[in-house]
Amino acid sequence: MLFAALSGFIFVLLIPIINKYAKNSVGWIASIFPLALTVYFISFYTNVIDKGNSILESTSWVPSLGINLSFYLDGLSLTFSLIITVVGFVVFLYAGSYMKNYDSLGKFYIYIILFMSSMIGLVLSDNIITMFVFWELTSITSYLLIGFNHEKETARNSALQALLITGGGGLALLAGLIILSGISGSMSISSLASMNDILTEHRLYAPAALLILIGAFTKSAQFPFHFWLPNAMEAPTPVSAYLHSATMVKAGIYLIARMNPSLGGTELWNYTIMFVGAVTMLFTAVLSFKQTDLKKLLAYSTLSVLGTLTMLIGIGSDLAIKAFMIYLIAHALYKATLFLTAGMIDHSTGTRNIEELQGLRKVMPITAAIAILASLSKMGIIPLIGFVGKETVYAATIEYTNFGFLFITLAIAANIFVVYITMTVGFKPFFGKFRKTPKTPHELPFRMWFGPMLLAFGGLTLGIFSSFIIGKLINNTELGIITAKLNIPVKLWHGFTLELMLSFITVLLGILLFWKRNQLLKYVDNISFIDEITPSYHYQKLFNGTLKLAKLQSRILQNGFLRYYIMVIIISTIILGGTTLFSLGEMDYTGIIEMPGFEEIIIAIVMMTATYMTVRAKTRLAAIVAVGVIGYSIALIYIMYGAPDLAMTQFAIETLTVILFVLVIYRLPGYLPFSSTARRIRDFIIAGAGGLLMSLISIIILSNPLSSELKNYFAKNSYAIAKGKNIVNVILVDFRALDTMGEITVLAVAAIGVFALLKLRKGADEK
């Protein structure tokens, strides 16, 4: 499984090469990858689903911190993995045709393969830190994909919004997970499940649970964080179908499900999840009513379904878990399909506005057939999987004793809107009289309809044979959401039950709502308060406020005058260092007793003279030469105290610095002393205080010899282990090579920064 989780990160390296030599078939080739993974995961079918086993594999990563690349495959993670790879295959194939006019198609595949691998890693991880790493990777790749059309400002804003919200939630999640591992002493998710008692009774349980839930709610766009998802529709349609309906937005729900055995069973946990889910389910469904954009409509219906799924885990009964699993699979199949057909309509007609679309069935018969099949599943019509899903959701809600009546009402209300959305997205564009669209519509190539068709028929097959495939999954698989196996059979037809009747009423009212749409819209348009109660309004306020604060503090601290920066740094050092020094109380200053030697006094005099010359210099060049003298004198001190490496580097750096200064000075206007005497005195005091503080600290350090084991260790092992006699260099390239690695990386970034700044100025001059 290690290879399955990480292979994408290797495969992605091939994409630039494929894109270079076979630009037109990059979609075909890339889609082999998810297909291969699908086959790989299906090969576990017998073991995991038929026999009901779960598999745990572990490779050590940072064993000293308990962080391992351990992966866990049970019914839940296998289901998610298959959704990711199957929908991935469809989307990869589709995008090759849908996005063939994009110049940066190769880049798209790189991002989306990285996303897919991160998502697989996320659902397979058994270690909380590993899972968190993959979790963040999905946020980052989602950012890149939402902002894929980065020339558009709205796309950039939406991408940033999604990143800030899911990333902020990610921080909460990390905090929650760390508390959790602190309580349990374990980083393995599967082992946490057996510690439910210890975890839920701990005094830090509530913060841990709530932090983890915030992470999950932001990721799965639950109320009040839901608003990033409709905005994320700025992404190209394949991305919306894949990330923002079938997979990534379900990561939060996956996490809640996965954590349910370890953290669930308390009122805090179940009620929070249940109510947040229920509110999301209804609120977002109602918000959909005014939408006219195909993708936005689908986004709101996705939100409503995500709310339903969350609510079901909150209810937590066996029947609810069963409903959760069926609904999860059903939704992945039909919603991805509908997104893709919406993309096909957009691609073919040039518009996604629902008011402009009708009567396309004759020009786009295949698209119409696929969309209608998926819509039927979404509306919950027999014999599609959506029917089984909705029936079970209703059954589980009715059965729930505490708030059953409330929740069934909410669920029916939300589903009426879902039916309404389906009618608008899945039927309206195809029926009625044809209307002229911006582009002349045409049927689309095989690559675009094949995948959606596969998913739509998948919904049909799973519905008709629901007792075999999904039935087996639910009947005898370790699902990981609750500790026991469910043992409930799945059936397509339950007879004429209450649920069936409610289902029928839902569809009927949904169609009625669609039929009366125009009259109702006029009425709704007069209500404007909805815009103000939405959380996105507050998000925007917070966002603008943060920017304002940032501007304010940079105006104070970084006003563009470098001398001022240095002053701020030195004053802060004096205040922080000084207060620490005096709070430590009586200090040992005996280090000063030793009398300096003759050469040292000479060097000190040279340095002081040079300092004076720097300050009093009449030209810049003179000042820099004087500063250079100070640098060389320091190098001399290094030599005297036996640090030739430092001295050499100092000499080289000093020389290069002078060259750099000369290059810069060459461009500057003539030297004029601007500063007034008062300001000079102020600077003198600050500089003097800084110097005094540093001297005091040096004396204290000299008076208290450090007893460092490291020094002895390096001296002893430099030659023995690292085969070098120059300890300084051995430390740099061997003992602490990782630090050096970091340093040269920082240097490289700094060089790019300098280069960019200079280039930027040049561009500004030209304008």
């Binding site: 290059l663 690292a722 120059n726 390239v733 100025r761």
Partner: protein
């Protein structure tokens, strides 16, 4: 910038010396003062000297390779030298050495390769900054 005949003649003889010296510093770093960092700095000052004597366009031609490439190459070499031990089941950046000594170079191992990376990064960064500042002048 005006170029002086004396300087440009002197530079002709100094450049090879400085470059050899920088390589020498780099190699002796393992047992005596020196190393990739200071070696890279000395090499960079050699190119800076050349640039002062012959102009920056000439210096760029003389260098033949774009400094940014040197930075990238250096980082890559340092990274790869760290990855090598992982194929032997050791941790990232563990030093591995050949048993035998080689003439001139002495001992050969991954830390030396890592140091080549440092050398190239430092050389690349210094020349990049110097050249971009000089380009601004025009």
């Amino acid at each position: 910038m005006k170029t002086s005949v004396i300087l440009s003649t002197a530079v002709k003889y100094l450049i090879p010396l400085l470059l050899i010296f920088s390589f020498f510093l780099f190699l002796r770093g393992h047992n005596e003062p020196g190393g990739g960092f200071v070696g890279g700095l000395v090499a960079a000052s050699a190119f800076a000297l050349f640039a002062i004597a012959n102009g920056f366009d000439e210096a760029k031609k003389f260098m033949k390779i774009e400094p940014i490439m040197l930075i990238a190459l250096g980082l890559l070499i340092a990274l790869l030298s760290g990855l090598v031990p992982m194929f032997f089941g050791l941790d990232f950046l563990t030093g591995i050495w050949f048993e035998k000594n080689f003439p001139i170079i002495g001992k050969l191992g991954t830390p030396l390769v890592f140091d080549i990376g440092v050398y190239l990064v430092v050389l690349g960064i210094s020349t990049k900054i110097i050249f971009s500042l000089a380009e601004e002048e025009k």
